[in-house]
């Protein structure tokens, strides 16, 4: 059984005040895969898409994506599970889209990534999403109402594949006020700790960790961005991560 890198992305599953969110639904799918297939799945990334009055998003227009490793048969099973799960759990007025792809089957990664960037700056049509999916071998399905979420679902895979877009879903709290860079890097959550200009900091430096950590996705890595605070460093606050 050969497992291949698999992208899974969903969008537009909620409505104002609904009991769950696209991020939570995506997390449930990720956990299902890890539990039932004994395979690791990378953290979920949130990708901000274009904010425009002609796009019928609920409040923020973001899509969610993660990667894992599945065989062809497993992918078929997982696809069935995702379609049923999203259909059942998404909000009544939502317009969900689901996109799934094997990385090695994507026709032209550069063209797909370009579509992801378009989704951040342009109003796109459902037709364009289906055209991209067909051209680059992505499984794409709409599940309810207008199915407008197919655009964000394709864009989610494109931007995740690009590797430097979005924030990691969730926040992480440490039970310590300060921690050495090296110790924090030994934690599986974070691949790199750097300043916002990309500079890495000394492994012996101290990070102040009284606040929850929010992690961004840069160069295909989970990165904690920090700023100097006296002799130590402090994670960038929410306001400064808004554009990631």
């Amino acid at each position: 059984m050969i497992r291949k890198k698999t992208y899974i992305s969903i969008d537009d599953t909620d409505e104002i005040g609904y009991h769950t969110s696209t991020g939570e639904i995506c997390e449930a799918i990720r956990e299902h895969i890890m539990k039932h297939y004994s395979v690791l799945a990378a953290p979920i990334t949130r990708h901000q898409l274009y904010l425009h009055e002609d796009i019928p998003y609920t409040s923020h227009n973001s899509s969610m994506c993660f990667t894992t490793y599945l065989s062809k048969k497993e992918r078929e099973e997982v696809t069935r599970f995702i379609l049923e799960h999203v259909e059942n759990i998404s909000a009544p007025t939502s317009d969900p889209g689901v996109c799934i792809a094997f990385e090695d089957e994507i026709g032209d990664m550069e063209a797909l990534i370009a579509y992801g960037f378009d989704a951040k700056v342009k109003v796109l049509s459902k037709e364009s999403a289906y055209a991209i999916a067909e051209k680059h071998n992505l499984f794409l399905r709409e599940l309810k109402n207008t199915g407008q979420g197919v655009i964000g679902a394709v864009a989610g895979i494109a931007l995740r594949a690009y590797g430097s877009d979005g924030r990691i879903k969730g926040k992480f709290r440490l039970d310590t006020q300060t921690i050495e860079v090296q110790t924090l890097l030994n934690n599986d959550l974070i691949d790199e700790i750097q300043l916002s200009n990309g500079a890495l900091i000394s492994e012996n430096a101290l990070i102040l960790t009284e606040e929850e950590l929010k992690i961004v996705y840069l160069n295909h890595k989970c990165v904690l961005l920090v700023e100097p605070d006296g002799d130590n460093y402090r994670p960038l606050g929410k306001e400064k991560l808004k554009n990631y």
């Binding site: 104002i16 904010l51 425009h52 409040s59 879903k169 929410k238």
Partner: protein
């Protein structure tokens, strides 16, 4: 704090006026429970973290205020 434009109640101070967004938070404020969509501290109620804000290119629309502005 808000202007009425094309039937929408829009926050007049854009996306980076954190103090004003705290000041503008009204009795209808409800924290968006989707933590990934919170963009400022939760120590104070802020329209920027409210369930009823709908982001636009320049600012946000308050989906709760109906069609009046103050």
């Amino acid at each position: 704090m808000f202007i009425l434009e094309n039937g929408n109640v829009i926050f007049r101070y854009g996306k980076d006026s954190y103090e004003k967004a705290i000041e503008a938070a009204c009795e209808a404020f409800k924290l968006d429970k989707d933590e990934d969509e919170l963009i400022t501290t939760t120590a104070h109620n802020s329209c920027y973290n409210c369930l009823y804000r709908r982001w636009t290119r320049e600012s946000f629309i308050c989906m709760k205020k109906g069609t009046y502005a103050n």
